[in-house]
């Protein structure tokens, strides 16, 4: 480099440095690999597959512990593990147990739960659909919910699957399954589905359902039991059964094919009213234990919660795939 070219090189270098300086931090940042933080994805599931599995195992283990517990810690254990219908049902179950019910309470094995779906998106409430196995071998569908950031997932509903029923494919856990509370695109809206099913169980005047496949074991059993019980009462008393959906407990999880799994809660009120010709009646053993009476002279009323799980296609009829019922309270005079 000759002395005559040196100043030109120097001028160019200074200009380059000045340009770099004027480029500011952005260029400097780029040179060392600094970039803006990426935007948050809002259409992914809130937890990954591994976390979902760990949460499901924890919740079902806690739920099993809460259901099996006795003594002072029961209330805290239930509040920690259960919510919604599951909490109500479990509390009712424990009252029956305290009263000496002969019914054996199904306890879901806390091991080997299988997460079927996690709700998509960052909004609350968040839900998980988890398959479990009862000690008697029955497959159970569990609904886990988290109402807000500070509320961990808890068991909100649980029902054993009907024999021969199945749930169509759900979206992969890492993609998440959209919630569809209004039932957009389904053959029947969840609210109407539950109302229609409730009407189809009514006694003495059930209304056939137009959007639900009939012939499932539970529906048949409820209607048959009502008829049998009414017949046994004969001319002494009348029986009515009214089913009322509890819409606040409805959760709708989309299936991959555009359909949905619908969890719902239905309250059943059985009312037995003695006719003038009847002097007294003897209710079933659970009722007697809840009420502390062996005979009734005017009226008996039993409140039962029915947890129902339907699959609803985009077109066609819905199917009842899982159901559970628990006597919650009773009163009589």
């Amino acid at each position: 480099m000759s002395p005559s070219t040196m100043p030109r090189v120097a001028t160019g270098a200074v200009a380059t440095l000045a340009a770099l300086a004027m480029g500011g931090c952005g260029l400097g940042g780029a040179l060392v690999g600094v970039h803006d933080a990426p935007a948050e994805h809002t259409s992914t599931p809130p937890v990954g597959a591994e976390s979902a599995q760990a949460i499901a195992s924890r919740v079902l283990a806690d739920a099993a512990r809460a259901r099996a517990a006795t003594g002072a810690e029961v209330k805290d254990l239930r509040a920690k593990a259960l919510t919604g219908a599951a909490l109500t049902v479990s509390t009712a179950d424990s009252r029956l147990a305290k009263a000496g019910s002969t019914a054996t309470e199904p306890v879901t094995k806390p091991t080997e739960p299988k997460v079927l779906a996690v709700s998509r998106g960052t909004a609350w409430p968040r839900v998980m659909l988890v398959q479990g196995t009862r000690e008697d071998g029955a497959t159970v569908l569990n609904l886990l919910t988290s109402a807000e950031a500070s509320a961990p997932f808890r068991l909100a509903a649980s029902a054993p699957m009907q024999a021969g029923s199945k749930v169509a494919a759900l979206d992969a856990i890492n993609e998440g399954s959209p919630l569809n509370p209004q039932g957009t695109g389904l053959a029947i809206a969840p609210k109407d589905l539950l109302a229609e099913y409730a009407a189809s169980l009514a006694y003495p005047t059930p209304k056939p359902s137009a959007h639900i496949n009939g012939g499932d074991q539970f529906t048949h059993a409820v209607l048959t039991n009502a008829r049998t019980q009414a017949a046994s009462l004969g001319k002494l008393a009348t029986l009515t059964q009214k089913h009322t959906p509890q819409p606040e407990d409805t959760v709708v999880i989309s299936l991959k094919d555009g359909g949905a799994v619908v969890f719902g809660l239905i309250e059943r009120i059985d009312t037995i009213t003695l006719k003038p010709t009847g002097k007294s009646l003897t209710p079933n053993p659970d009722f007697q234990k809840l009420l502390g009476k062996k005979t009734l002279t005017k009226q008996a009323q039993m409140r039962t919660f029915e947890t129902v799980v339907f699959t609803v296609p985009p077109k066609g009829r819905a199917n009842l795939v899982a159901v559970d019922e628990t006597l919650v309270s009773a009163k009589g005079k």
Partner: protein, 208 residues
């Protein structure tokens, strides 16, 4: 005169670059490890934002040290989840870094207490310890927020919170800046010497 000024500026710029390169090299070391610190105290939970954690592609390690061997808990979550959980609790939000002092820049806001943090299911990863605990944020799930407190949600009595980035390329770049600065300063100084030499020779020839 303008040539002399240009060469002077080149020399000065070279010296500045060399100084910067030397300064970064001494802090980053051969491994290219840079640590920024804050001393938040124990009155608020610490919330480290994506604007700090997710600005480079490499992992960043958050290390929290409690005073007197106290309890410290760290959780990593999606930013919206962490904010929904911490809510308006009193917090020191770590929003940036100051390279000059190798410090984390913080903004204090909010009042009240956070809920029981460890009980929530929003966390992708948590860790806790007595005295110190650390958690590494890989960039696979970016953006993310890290909360430093105690498991119950009470603020941890912190001596320091350190964020460490590891970047081998940074060490190489710092060294390159040092070398470039030395070369530019050398070239500028040489140019100045040659210019002065030529002017001296021209003056002597004119006198002769």
């Amino acid at each position: 005169m303008s040539k002399r000024v240009a060469l002077g500026v080149l020399t000065l710029a070279g010296l500045v670059l060399a100084g910067i390169g030397l300064w970064f090299s001494s802090h980053l070391g051969a491994a290219g490890s840079g640590t920024f610190s804050a001393k938040p105290g124990g009155e608020r939970v610490v919330v480290i934002e994506p604007s700090v954690l997710n600005r480079v592609d490499g992992p960043v390690t958050v290390t929290a040290t409690a005073k007197n061997g106290g309890e410290v808990w760290l959780g990593r979550a999606a930013p919206s989840d962490a904010h929904a959980l911490v809510g308006n609790a009193g917090q020191d939000a770590v929003t940036g870094v100051s390279v000059g002092g190798w410090e984390l820049t913080t903004e204090s806001h909010g009042t009240g207490t956070a809920p029981a943090l460890a009980q929530s299911d929003v966390w992708r990863d948590t860790t806790q310890g007595t005295g110190t605990a650390s958690l590494t944020v890989h960039q696979n799930d970016a953006p993310e927020t890290v909360v430093v407190a105690t498991a119950s949600g009470k603020p941890a009595d912190l001596a320091s919170v350190d964020l460490t980035w590891q970047g081998q390329a940074w060490a190489v770049k710092a060294l390159a800046v040092l070398v470039l600065g030395v070369l530019l300063a050398g070239a500028g100084a040489a140019g100045l010497w040659l210019l002065r030499h030529r002017e001296t020779t021209t003056t002597q020839e004119a006198r002769a």
